[in-house]
């Protein structure tokens, strides 16, 4: 009876146990869990486990869908899991600069990136999804929601046999992705075509569905209505003709302006240096790879420790 039909019982038992274990791992671990030292460091700069604050962020940024169940919503200040990483990204937007001479004010980025009750767009929600294809960070193609994908959460702390495209779990990029995706909803709400263009074309080196136009404006630029672009509310203005063309934003543009503001004017006391360094680096890559027309500037000085 021990070995009646081919496989010994203990092998079948082990296989069954392994399958249960694998299922449990799949249920609990939606992406590759873990947090970088920079991610953990930033959680210490704000009350990242304050449940009242987390509920405000959860509700305001629409992280309310049950798709977040396997992604850490029940362990909401575990910075190794996607849900808490979204909270950390929102907090970074909430810690972005407020000085004069930046592209846009913190209050504008906060309101724009908010999912509900915002003058920027209709109410939407954020959904967690593991994968939309290699390297896709997020996607907003169904109108009332935005999907956030594993590449902006995966912890790259373990060696990989096939590097391909490394993940983009950097906090500055994750925050910028929220800002980018919500701008699609702004476009929808204001009757603009919210699709990206296909690439590669012109100066855009990305593939299908990841190219935009760049509408240049300088930080703190004067607008014809007498305000400046770095004043509260100016992000929500558009089609104002200034001396170099349109005052308008595309999704990739708005994320690079945020990254530029964080890189250059991010807090030297509560923001880890590494976040600012990453913001400069990723911002410059987007400037040179996601626009069909040439972006006319670069962020920061190309030095080791800017």
């Amino acid at each position: 009876m021990k070995n009646t039909k081919g496989f010994p019982r203990f092998v079948l038992g082990a296989v069954a146990a392994a399958m249960v274990l694998v299922s449990a791992v799949i249920l609990v671990h939606a992406c590759t869990d873990g947090a970088t030292t920079t991610e953990v460091s930033f959680t210490k700069a704000w009350p990242s486990c304050d449940q009242d604050l987390i509920r405000q962020l959860w509700q305001g940024w629409g992280v309310t869908d049950d798709s977040w169940n396997p992604a850490g919503i029940s362990d909401d200040c575990n910075e190794g899991l996607p849900f808490a990483k979204v909270m950390n990204a929102i907090a970074l937007i909430g810690g972005s600069p407020t000085v004069a001479g930046i592209f846009h004010q913190r209050g504008d980025y906060m309101l724009e990136s908010r999912a509900v009750s915002t003058p920027y767009h209709d109410d939407v929600y954020l959904r967690f999804i593991q994968d939309h294809g290699a390297g896709v960070e997020a996607q907003s193609d169904a109108g009332d929601h935005t999907d956030l994908d594993c590449p902006i959460f995966n912890f790259p702390g373990v060696p990989t046999p096939s590097p391909g495209n490394p993940n983009a779990e950097m906090l500055a990029e994750r925050s910028a992705v929220l800002i980018h995706e919500m701008w699609h909803h702004w476009q929808d709400a204001h009757d603009y075509d919210s699709s990206h263009m296909d690439g590669p074309q012109g100066s855009c080196t990305a593939a299908a569905g990841a190219c935009d136009w760049f509408y240049p404006h300088a930080p703190g630029s004067s607008l014809p209505d007498g305000t400046n672009s770095d004043q509260i509310g100016s992000l929500n203005k558009t089609n104002v003709v200034n001396d170099i063309g349109l005052y308008f934003h595309s999704p990739y543009q708005i994320m690079t302006e945020f990254e530029s503001d964080v890189a250059i004017f991010g807090s030297p006391v509560f923001m880890p240096f590494a976040i600012r360094q990453e913001a400069q680096n990723v911002g410059n890559v987007h400037l040179s790879s996601n626009f069909v027309n040439g972006a006319g500037f670069t962020i920061g000085n190309p030095v080791p420790f800017p």
Binding site: T36, T38, W46, C49, Q51, Q59, G60, V63, D66, S74, D76, N78, F83, G101, H132, G133, G135, V136, E137, Q139, S140, D141, A142, P156, G157, T160, P163, G164, N165, P166, H184, D191, S195, H196, T205, A207, A208, G209, A210, W213, A218, P219, N239, L246, P251, S267, V269, F270, F273, A274, N281, N284, S288, S289, G294, G296, F297, G300, P302, P304
Partner: protein, 286 residues
């Protein structure tokens, strides 16, 4: 009696529901106030072969106000080959640690300005393990009308590598930089090489001419783009940005496309909400 009890239970439930909705509504539309505290100033870590990881942990968690401490520590060991080798050994696309850690390893090597770092930096720059957008054909969205974010991480790390090679600024490093301006597969890396070459050669007219001479014909106009840095004169920056689009009207964007307004589409599935809770071992303020 049973009716009264049932009504009381119903009223209680309705009351609790109203309270819940009331509490939820209170937060709607109001931007939360997030209070930030200063990150602690950390004791500088001495850089040596055995402390590379600890040194990078320090840099990845410290506030920018400690950058001068980092530079001071690196200056103490900049001529030590064993330290260069130990840091260079961490450069990897297979074992990143994290994207940010790779940026920091690169920065340390750049800051050391040690010719010995040139070879590993060049290997990293030209590695085939991490294909840039131009070398890949596999990024395809699932949707037919995507509005997605993608990031060329390989180009980002390689752009940082060429910046550090340019910062070393030795004759051999300059050769690598001008070759990268023309030959690298990634536009992001080529533009980084142009920018870094100019920066490390004082933005001189001679440097501009050299970079233009090596740039691909369609990219020569991007030599000398203005940099937006903390010390940038804002008026001058705005003028240079405007000049770029005046001199190159073909780079101006078209009018944005307006489309007929459509109501947000609901997703195909019925939404179920979930509520955040602290994990069993959490819930206390950090």
């Amino acid at each position: 009696m049973k009716y009264l009890i049932d009504r009381s239970v119903q009223l209680c439930l309705v009351g609790m529901l109203c309270l819940t909705v009331g509490c939820a509504k209170k937060d709607k539309g109001k931007l939360p106030t997030i209070s930030f505290v200063q990150l602690p100033k950390q004791t500088p870590v001495h850089l040596e072969v055995s402390t590379v990881d600890k040194f990078v942990d320090w840099i990845s968690t410290m506030p920018s106000s400690q950058i001068s401490d980092v530079k001071e520590q690196i200056s103490l060991v900049k001529s030590e080959s064993t330290v260069v080798d130990a840091v260079a050994a961490k450069l990897s696309f297979r074992n990143l640690g994290s994207y940010g850690r790779q940026l920091i390893y690169l920065s340390i090597l750049g800051e050391m300005k040690n010719e010995r770092a040139l070879r590993p930096l060049q290997d990293y720059l030209n590695s085939r393990e991490c294909p840039v957008f131009e070398e890949r054909t596999t990024i395809h969205p699932v949707s037919t009308a995507p509005k997605m974010s993608v990031f060329d991480a390989c180009a980002g790390l390689k752009a940082a590598a060429i910046n550090m090679i340019a910062y070393i600024n030795s004759p051999a490093a300059k050769v690598v930089v001008v070759k990268t301006i023309s030959d690298h597969a990634s536009r992001s890396v080529r533009l980084s090489a142009m920018n870094a070459y100019l920066y490390n050669n004082g933005d001189s007219a001679e440097a501009v001419a050299t970079a233009r001479q090596h740039a691909r014909p369609e990219e020569a106009k991007f030599v000398g783009l203005p940099r937006l840095a903390p010390d940038t004169d804002r008026k001058e920056f705005a003028a240079r940005l405007a000049r770029f689009y005046t001199e190159h009207p073909e780079e101006r964007p078209p009018q944005p496309k307006q489309v007929a307004r459509r109501k947000p589409e609901k997703g195909p599935h019925e939404r179920v909400s979930a509520t955040p809770t602290a994990g069993p071992s959490r819930g206390e303020a950090k």
